[in-house]
């Protein structure tokens, strides 16, 4: 690694069910301009654009980086498109950071977006694969059996998922950019309709329109801001979708990815050495599952941390201070939002959802059948 890399600009759109006021180019440009302003930069400072989004079919534009290059000031520059399913926002930020760390570019704009109102993601996520039985409707149909397996294995309290939903929605109330602003009680969440047992309606993420952008630079340019977020570890891991004996509840790829990123950042005990985390939790039960997968709790014990309130802002290990995917889910951007919110925390710019004194944070994204993982650790110190 030739260079250190820091996040010096972060911008995101106001997320909502439908940003009818913005075209797709308008959406990505809105996030990008905010990131540039935050970095005290203009378009001409940017050397390269790295863009991520989930399946092109969501918006009906094939390889949209071609079309969006104009809106992103990319003419005459390299523009690079990443797509790694739900983890794409994270993977995209990782690729951008590598361009800086490798010394290829000094100043990179990276961004991710989804405009879910342009299509119906639920059915786009239910593809009929030729010669295979149609087993699921939507991502919830795929993940519900994994959650049931988790509950069986860990003997988790049945309210755990609802507790996560209440907590993340309370956090979301502190985030003006969040899509959902819901002041829900545990009883209200428990009373919401069951969609894919044990996933209730209020335990699912919304479908959002939104974009997020970051400016990543090397040491030379990090001094443009007072509070760069230094990237001290990045990692990606993938495993195959189907094979006998695969543990989809606690996937090996997630564990390995976390170990790799902790090793790079010199972290031996994540619970003690990380101040807060933004983790991809699209269905509430994934909080306790990922608490264990990422080494914040012993196997079978993650749900206790949630039930004890340890993952709230002010708790021992705040998770998803922004409200997370449970409040905001422009799919292709959801991973990068986690990475960006982690960076905001260590920069001290997270507004009302700031964890006081946060110095080290984890950003996490996953995708496919719990098989693609991307993570980074950001720190207030290089």
């Amino acid at each position: 690694m030739a260079e250190h890399c820091a996040v010096i600009g972060i911008g995101q759109t106001k997320h909502s069910e439908s940003r009818r006021d913005l075209s797709i180019p308008g959406l990505v440009r809105d996030a990008a301009v905010r990131a540039l302003q935050d970095a005290n930069m203009s378009w001409k400072d940017i050397e390269c654009v790295v863009i991520g989004t989930a399946p092109d079919m969501f918006e009906g534009v094939m390889m949209p980086e071609l079309w969006l290059s104009d809106a992103l000031g990319a003419s005459g520059k390299p523009i690079f498109r990443v797509h790694t399913a739900g983890s794409v926002g994270g993977s995209t930020a990782v690729v951008a950071s590598h361009l800086v760390q490798a010394g290829v570019h000094e100043k990179v704009l990276t961004l991710a977006f989804e405009k879910q109102s342009e299509s119906n993601a639920m059915w786009a996520l239910s593809p009929a694969v030729p010669f295979q039985p149609q087993l699921v409707a939507g991502a919830g149909g795929y993940f519900a059996p994994l959650i049931r397996s988790y509950i069986r294995r860990s003997d988790a309290h049945p309210d755990t998922g609802c507790m996560v939903a209440v907590k993340d929605r309370q956090h979301g109330l502190l985030n003006p950019d969040a899509h959902l602003h819901l002041d829900q009680s545990l009883e209200e969440v428990k009373a919401s309709p069951m969609l894919w047992d044990p996933i209730r309606y209020s335990e699912t993420c919304p479908s959002s329109d939104g974009a997020v952008a970051m400016v990543l630079v090397n040491d030379k340019h990090a001094a443009r801001v007072q509070n760069p977020a230094w990237i001290t570890g990045t990692s990606v891991r993938t495993e195959r979708t189907f094979f006998a004996g695969r543990d989809q509840v606690n996937p090996a790829a997630g564990k390995l990815c976390a170990k790799d990123v902790y090793d790079q950042a010199g972290i031996t005990n994540p619970l003690k050495e990380i101040d807060c985390a933004e983790v991809y939790v699209p269905f509430s039960w994934f909080e306790p599952m990922w608490l264990e997968n990422l080494g914040f709790a012993e196997e079978g014990q993650g749900w206790r941390m949630t039930m004890e309130g340890k993952t709230k802002i002010g708790g021992e290990m705040p998770w998803n201070m922004s409200g997370g995917v449970m409040c905001t889910n422009p799919i292709g951007a959801s991973g990068m939002l986690r990475f960006a919110e982690a960076a905001r925390q260590v920069r001290g710019t997270a507004g009302r959802h700031q964890v006081e004194g946060a110095k080290v944070a984890l950003g996490h994204a996953y995708g496919g059948g719990s098989q693609f993982f991307a993570m980074w650790i950001v720190s207030s110190e290089r």
Partner: protein, 350 residues
């Protein structure tokens, strides 16, 4: 900057239809690329692929491709929704880090699954252009017509490019269509979209390709003569056709400059030109003169499996350095209508 080289290349012979799903395309071609230099997936530090959901017509099609790999224990892996040549670029960046020494790059594309020229219309602006139904051949025809109007080339020049590529393809066992064909025969073909005729357009093929990259001494241990990536760069241009000079390629010119194409004699160049006239534009943009052999493989005019055609150019160019038949080669890949986005690399032997 760390030295990185292409050390292996494999492709499935291109044809009109390969009856195979994603794992069936990926497994044999990646295994061959690794086996011929004595590696297995366990020896690979990073794996990266390129493909598009718009060929099979369903989202997340690349996820199935992972099942064609030995992705267990879990691997470092990424995917670009671009030609596999851009996956090679990501792998090159990853190897510059220094913590791993090898990368596997692959891509797969089956044009037989749908009406590709019409499908490519969905690359266009969805609000103003897609409703016009601008298919890929019509867009390229506008570019070819602009060249004729600017007196930069004639229809006969286009035909000569096609004849040479088809003739070169005779020696390429992986090509889909091959000669013999002469200029007069092409000029007698009816127009598909004036001034383009059938033989001036690439065929639509199915194929898959894989490349192995290695850094520094690892590359030297694996093969006698690695194809070192001495320069690599990519650039894009405005999307709207009306905002570009279609008769030239500013982005290919800039990428070639950054990659250092003109720093030495280029023995051979593999150019990703899906239409005959685009080869002329690319040669001019990159400054490739008479001394450079263009597309000894037959290029995209002999085989065009979307998303792999660029990576195959890299593999074909590297093969000539690996075999010792060229000292300095240029590899090129393009993306988008009328050469909007271009990737250029210089490959050299030691």
């Amino acid at each position: 900057m760390r030295e990185v080289a292409i050390v292996s290349f494999s492709q499935l012979p291109s044809s009109k239809v390969i009856h195979a799903d994603e794992p069936e395309l990926v497994q044999p071609v990646t295994a061959a690329a690794m086996e011929q230099i004595g590696l297995t997936q366990d020896d690979i530090g990073f794996t990266c692929s390129g493909s598009t959901d718009y060929l099979p017509g369903r989202p997340f099609s690349f996820v199935a491709a992972v099942d064609g790999l030995k992705a267990w224990p879990p691997i470092r892996e990424s995917h670009v929704e671009m030609d596999g040549a851009f996956a090679l670029y990501e792998a090159w960046v990853r190897l510059l880090h220094g913590d791993i020494d090898t990368a596997l790059v692959f891509s797969f594309g089956r044009c037989s699954l749908g009406p590709v020229p019409e499908v490519l219309n969905v690359q266009n602006d969805p609000y103003y252009v897609q409703p016009l139904g601008l298919d890929a051949i019509s867009a390229a025809a506008l570019q070819a017509r602009a060249m004729i109007d600017a007196r930069k080339a004639t229809e006969r020049d286009f035909a000569e490019v096609a004849v040479r590529n088809r003739q070169n393809a005779v020696r390429n066992p992986n090509a889909h269509v091959k000669g013999p064909l002469d200029v007069e025969a092409i000029l007698a073909e009816p127009y598909i979209s004036s001034p383009l005729r059938k033989s001036l357009c690439s065929p639509l093929s199915d194929s898959a390709a894989a490349v192995v990259l290695a850094a520094g001494d690892t590359a030297r241990k694996l093969v006698e003569r690695p194809a070192w990536i001495r320069g690599i760069d990519h650039r894009t241009e405005p999307h709207a056709l009306g905002q570009r000079d279609l008769t030239a390629s500013a982005s290919a010119k800039l990428a070639a400059e950054k990659a250092g194409v003109r720093k030495g004699k280029v023995d051979v160049a593999e150019l990703h030109a899906p239409f005959a006239h685009q080869e002329i534009i690319l040669r001019e943009a990159m400054g490739l003169g008479e001394g450079t052999e263009i597309n000894p493989s037959g290029g995209a005019l002999a085989a065009n499996s979307l998303m792999t055609t660029g990576l195959i150019r890299f593999g074909e160019a590297a093969s000539r350095v690996l075999s010792g038949s060229a000292d300095r080669a240029v590899a090129h890949a393009t993306s988008g209508a009328c050469l909007q986005h271009n990737l250029v690399a210089v490959l050299e032997g030691e």
